[in-house]
């Protein structure tokens, strides 16, 4: 299963640059995004991946669509994403948050045109903890949680995704919080929890050949194994990958150059043939 955002093609990067320079309309960019999305879904189908994922090509980062869809969430300053050389615009939450429009026609600065989610396939959503940890807030987590959960539920209700990849940080969070989350989130049976920045080794060692398994923290029979390194170009060895579970990446795939991300996708497909 692809984890999170998938890298854009060079052509799409160029088209987005043209859009940002005012040389391409939002409509034309939407068409291009749609073509690229369809092609990517087709690649996954041809590779016979069990879970087909949305690539989210129009997300600059996982949280960005919320700044367009919801009220009182603005794009803040560029902020380093954990210990990486990639930066995101830290959401600045200025008041009570509420979903305004799932497919807004007016864009805010630093955003690309929607729609941001689609029906049927797996979509990736920031967990409440992840969103809260990576944003600037004046409210408490407890105050934020219910309002944010409402937004997640409206997205899930509208799009009926096959799976919901919930990106979590810190991990493992308190089990009680998970229980509350799963009790209240729609289609919790379709939720796959993935840890952001999995197996980041504090000692600076490279764990390539002995990545620890992070499985779903609840009583499910099918673990999610974050064994594909989306933070490094080195290819995995099949014998180091466990055989029972959904294999996915330790981060968004778009930390990789697209050529390597596609290779890792093919590798995962071969694993499914085992």
């Amino acid at each position: 299963m692809v984890s999170g955002l998938f890298p854009r093609s060079n052509e799409l990067i160029r088209e987005i640059k043209r859009f940002e320079l005012g040389k391409l309309s939002a409509e034309k960019l939407k068409e291009k995004l749609d073509i690229e999305r369809t092609q990517f879904l087709e690649i996954q189908k041809q590779l016979k991946l069990r879970i087909i994922s949305e690539p989210h090509f129009n997300f600059h980062d996982l949280m960005r669509p919320f700044t367009v869809m919801a009220q009182n969430i603005e794009s803040g300053t560029l902020t380093r994403y954990f210990e990486t050389n990639t930066f995101y615009r830290k959401p600045l939450v200025t008041g009570k948050i509420k979903l305004v429009d799932l497919e807004p026609k007016t864009l805010k600065e630093y955003n690309l045109p929607g729609p941001y989610y689609f029906k049927n396939n797996k979509i990736t959503l920031p967990s409440p903890h992840y969103f809260y940890s990576l944003s600037s807030f004046s409210s408490t987590y407890a105050d934020f949680f219910g309002d944010y959960l409402d937004i997640l539920n409206e997205i899930i209700k509208e799009y009926e995704p096959s799976y919901i990849e919930l990106v979590e940080y810190p991990f493992p969070a308190k089990e009680k919080e998970y229980e509350t989350l799963l009790k209240n989130i729609k289609h919790s049976e379709r939720v796959i929890v993935r840890k952001a920045q999995a197996y980041l080794d504090p000692e600076g060692k490279i764990y390539h050949d002995k990545m620890p398994f992070y499985s779903y923290p609840f009583k499910r029979s099918y673990p999610v194994l974050q064994q594909i390194d989306a933070m490094n170009t080195k290819m995995e060895e099949p014998e180091n990958i466990a055989e029972n579970g959904v294999v996915t990446g330790n981060e968004n795939f778009d930390f990789l150059p697209r050529e390597i991300a596609l290779k890792k996708l093919e590798f995962m497909a071969k694993l499914e043939e085992r």
């Binding site: 890298p7 990067i13 987005i16 600059h60 050389n85 504090p202 600076g204 490279i206």
Partner: protein, 328 residues
């Protein structure tokens, strides 16, 4: 001289040079022309130190040195932020130096200007942190192999240096504090890189989310000066609290080493008025000894137009001149 004014590194390239980067035939002549022009342009601001003329021989700070090394290959672009990407190389075999990425630019700069120069060099920790690894067993091995190469590059420059004063080299390490657990390793690699060399070594770090990590190790680092950024976090009103500079107190609690203080925000077109820069420097002088304070922009000015960057530098020099009159 008090309040020595210095450039940090990059400067916007003229349009003809940007175009020439797509055309190998025109590139060298355009680079030479742009370097000469930019050195003159910077000299006319009144800066004491004009760096290496805005890095006209380098497209950017990572790919340029890496392209002069063996053991790395490029697969494509990775995201920096939004729709901005950079080419991140993968290490696939032992790193080695192919040729010196800085020497040609350096030789031209020495030839074109008699002013003080300071050669910015991308540091080994940043080179390591910004590369994929398909070969080494751990990050320390990568770091020290990069450090060996950077050290060799600096030694080449010292051999080519003919002026009586020490060669000024600035090691740029934007990634310095990215991994808190690696600060000791970072310190050791920095000290190794410059150990025993007859240079005036500067360290430039920018956009850290936790400078205390760096301040703590500065007493054990063999650098002459630490050129850091503060303006981008400060208020822009002259009479406001100097919020961006409050942590200079922390700096002074850890060390009394020389500080190059950033007084210009390089990410905005707002041209800092002379009075604002004076206010920032006066605040900095509450914590840093006058003889140990140098003045610079937060970082390289490459993202601003040449005209805006010029005006910013000019105001920085005017502010320093006003203070020199007051303090000398």
């Amino acid at each position: 001289m008090i309040l020595y004014t210095q450039e940090i590194g990059s400067f916007k390239k003229p349009d003809y040079l940007i175009k020439a980067y797509g055309n190998a035939k025109d590139l060298k002549n355009s680079q030479i022309k742009a370097l000469k022009e930019t050195l003159e342009y910077m000299e006319s601001t009144g800066l004491d130190n004009i760096g290496v003329g805005g890095e006209m021989f380098r497209w950017e700070m990572y790919k340029h040195p890496v392209s002069h090394m063996g053991g790395l290959r490029f697969y494509g672009q990775v995201r920096s932020f939004d729709n901005r990407y950079y080419e991140k190389a993968a290490i696939f075999k032992k790193l080695e130096s192919v040729d010196n990425p800085y020497i040609e630019e350096f030789n031209y700069a020495v030839q074109f200007s008699k002013k003080d120069l300071k050669i910015p060099i991308t540091g080994p920790y940043t080179l390591m942190d910004w590369s994929f690894n398909e070969y080494y067993n751990n990050r320390e091995e990568i770091l020290f192999d990069f450090a060996k190469i950077v050290r060799e590059n600096i030694i080449d420059l010292t051999r080519a240096w003919r002026r009586p004063e020490k060669l000024k080299v600035q090691i740029d390490e934007p990634a310095a504090t990215t991994h808190p657990s690696e600060m000791q390793m970072f310190r050791d690699a920095m000290n190794y890189t410059i150990k025993g060399l007859d240079i005036e070594a500067h360290l430039h770090v920018c956009y850290s989310s936790n400078y205390e990590l760096l301040y703590k190790i500065i007493p054990d680092m063999d650098f002459y000066s630490f050129n850091l950024e503060y303006a981008n976090r400060d208020n822009i009103a002259v009479n406001a609290d100097r919020t961006g500079y409050k942590e200079l107190k922390l700096f002074s609690e850890y060390t009394d080493k020389r500080l190059g203080v950033g007084v210009l925000d390089v990410h905005t077109d707002f041209v800092e008025p002379v009075e604002l820069i004076v206010s920032r420097l006066k605040y900095a002088l509450k914590f840093i000894d006058l003889k140990k304070l140098a003045v610079n922009p937060d970082c390289g000015l490459r993202t601003r137009s040449r005209e805006i960057a010029y005006q910013k530098l000019k105001n920085m020099v005017s502010a320093v001149n006003a203070l020199r009159k007051e303090y000398e």
